[in-house]
């Protein structure tokens, strides 16, 4: 390091050398820019793990609370309830994480960093697609935390490792679709906090009015009808069937179709809003 100039100060001669010596590399392809943005997303998880902790702490807390407080009453035994609730909490945990796609986008927009990205010679949608890659890492981590907790508590699904991996993969794919809803929310609302609060305001009731925690058989009619069509219920059913080693084809296909439909509607809205911001 140079010791002749004031430490911590810019060195005009070095700045001139750095400017003069710059090479201009060939334009990168779409994949390498997406990977670079994905790397950015992963770095953020590394630097700000609180986000991930926030979002997984709630489901884990519910897992513990429901299993040990109500497990016996709801399913006869704690172990039997754990078998029922764990795939549901897996869904809850990963689905909650999708809100952060919107929060992250909104945070970028309120800072100036999006202007920097948009002034680079790259495709305008590259930051969005790259963020998706980073988000996938977040989803996998959130789901793995829940599965790991389950193992510690004595959860041993019939479907084994393969079933668990398939269930996680399904939930992650569904969350890709759902995350476009929250990127739209992130582009429309004013602040990251508003996105976070708005997201949970919707996701909490939708998650509770599903079969994640309780078997809907005992619910009153209208509520039962809502729970039955709630996509979160369908996804939880599909995930449950996979970890149990008895795949429910209909639930899996419906879950994937819902994800595809959400992406088909909200991805174009996201890119349009993003371009016009």
């Amino acid at each position: 390091m140079s010791t002749t100039t004031t430490p911590g100060a810019a060195d005009a001669a070095a700045v001139r050398r750095a400017i003069a010596s710059a090479a201009r590399p060939p334009r990168p392809g779409a994949l390498s820019t997406a990977l670079a943005f994905g790397w950015r997303g992963v770095l953020k998880i590394k630097h700000v793990p609180e986000q991930l902790i926030d979002v997984t702490a709630t489901p884990v807390l519910f897992l513990l609370m429901f299993t040990y407080l109500f497990g016996g009453a709801l399913a006869g035994s704690t172990a039997a309830y754990l078998d029922y609730v764990l795939p549901g909490v897996l869904v809850m945990s990963v689905v909650f994480t999708t809100v952060y796609s919107g929060v992250a986008l909104n945070t970028d927009l309120t800072k100036g960093v999006v202007d920097r990205f948009r002034s680079l010679p790259i495709r305008r949608s590259a930051p969005l697609l790259g963020a998706l890659l980073g988000d996938s890492v977040r989803y996998v981590l959130a789901g793995t935390v829940v599965l790991g907790f389950g193992l510690v508590l004595g959860y041993r699904p019939d479907g084994g490792v393969l079933g668990a991996v398939c269930a996680l993969a399904l939930v992650v794919v569904f969350s890709f679709g759902l995350s476009w809803v929250f990127t739209v929310v992130g582009l429309v609302l004013r602040s990251p906090t508003a996105v976070l609060n708005g997201g949970f305001l919707v996701l909490f009731p939708v998650t509770f009015l599903s079969n994640v925690f309780v078997d809907p058989a005992t619910l009153p009619g209208p509520l039962r009808a809502f729970v039955a069509v709630n996509p979160i219920s369908v996804l939880a059913t599909a995930a449950r069937s996979l970890v149990d080693g008895r795949p429910d084809g209909t639930a899996i296909v419906v879950s994937l179709a819902v994800a595809a439909a959400l992406a088909a509607v909200f991805l174009p809205v996201t890119t349009r809003l993003y371009r016009s911001r």
């Binding site: 060195d11 700045v15 590399p25 670079a36 920097r116 948009r118 010679p121």
Partner: protein
């Protein structure tokens, strides 16, 4: 690199409205290549919107602009390949380290990872922020963030750099460093379009200035021409005895020019077309026995130019207290 056109930016009739707000109401610009060109105007004048249209971030409602020979609307990608933007908000990622920020930009511009790292380290060193390179940018001081922001614009050397209020909120030491970097850039042949609301900054850096207000160009020229366009300088006098100010004002009014009383009760100034008349006025004050504490004869400052052009004063310096606590800056020193 192919030869640059003589004009780095050529804009005619640029307009942009946001709802009912006419942010830019028809601006023409001709920015020569290889120099610093200042866009000077108060807060809300339309500087940022103009720069964002030129950097292809905002599509103009009307008018045309060519940047380095390429149309900003139809050849946006070509423009983006040649320019860099250092936005008004720090356009770096606060949740990454300084080094990661520069590596990311390097990779987005097509460098492979080792080359991106090497370039990042070279820039961090040159910009005097290497000591903090591994710390998250949110812990950096405002001055260091600004330097990183400018470094991020230079990962691949652009032909034109947009600097939007690069020293707003910086302490004088950081501000001087940014100025030095800007001068180094131009010395290497880069053109700079500098938006500022600080008259001193435009005066210090810019070879040409366009003054805008309410989305329109209200004056254009070199700093010297702008000062000359207001016409005259001013004779500033401070008396020993404030009680004699009225008498001094009468003398200067009759011999020099229109007199303005200043907030200091012992001070007054007279608009003055030529230096000889100032000398005569001072001589007469001496003969009348009016004690002079000090006096000076100056060409009008850009502040006075701005006041004369717009009828309202511009901000003249960084507002105090905008700088976040310079924790890392101290540690780095």
């Amino acid at each position: 690199m192919t030869g640059q056109p003589a004009l780095a930016v050529e804009a005619t009739g640029l307009q942009k409205s946001f709802g009912d707000t006419r942010a830019v109401a028809g601006i023409d610009l001709a920015v020569p290549a290889g120099a610093i060109y200042g866009v000077l105007g108060p807060n809300g004048a339309g500087k940022t919107t103009t720069i964002r249209m030129l950097a292809t971030l905002v599509r103009p409602d009307a008018g045309r602009a060519r940047v380095l020979g390429h149309d900003v609307v139809t050849e946006g990608d070509a423009v983006r390949g040649l320019v860099s933007l250092t936005g008004q908000l720090a356009s770096v990622d606060e949740e990454l380290t300084g080094r990661e920020n520069l590596v990311l930009i390097g990779r987005l511009l097509g460098h492979r990872r080792p080359a991106a790292r090497a370039r990042a380290d070279e820039l961090l060193e040159a910009f005097g922020v290497a000591a903090a390179a591994g710390k998250l940018v949110k812990h950096w001081s405002g001055g260091m963030r600004r330097r990183l922001d400018i470094a991020a614009s230079l990962v691949v050397t652009p032909q034109l750099v947009f600097l939007d209020e690069p020293t707003t909120g910086l302490d004088p030491r950081s501000r001087n460093q940014v100025w030095e970097i800007a001068r180094a850039l131009v010395a290497e042949g880069t053109t700079i379009l500098l938006c500022t609301q600080y008259l001193e900054e435009a005066d210090q850096l810019a070879d040409g200035i366009v003054v805008i207000d309410h989305g329109r160009v209200i004056a254009e020229g070199t700093p010297g021409q702008l000062k000359a366009s207001v016409g005259t300088g001013a004779l500033h006098v401070r008396l020993v005895d404030p009680a004699r100010r009225a008498e001094a004002a009468r003398v200067l009014e009759s011999l020099v020019g229109p007199v303005a009383l200043e907030p200091d009760p012992a001070a007054l100034s007279a608009t003055c077309a030529d230096a000889r008349r100032a000398a005569i006025g001072m001589g007469e004050l001496g003969r009348a026995g009016v004690g002079i504490a000090d006096f000076s004869l100056g060409r009008p400052s850009l502040d006075e130019v701005f006041l004369a052009l717009t009828g309202h004063p511009a901000r003249t310096g960084p507002a105090a207290g905008e700088e976040p606590a310079a924790t890392l800056e101290e540690q780095a020193s």
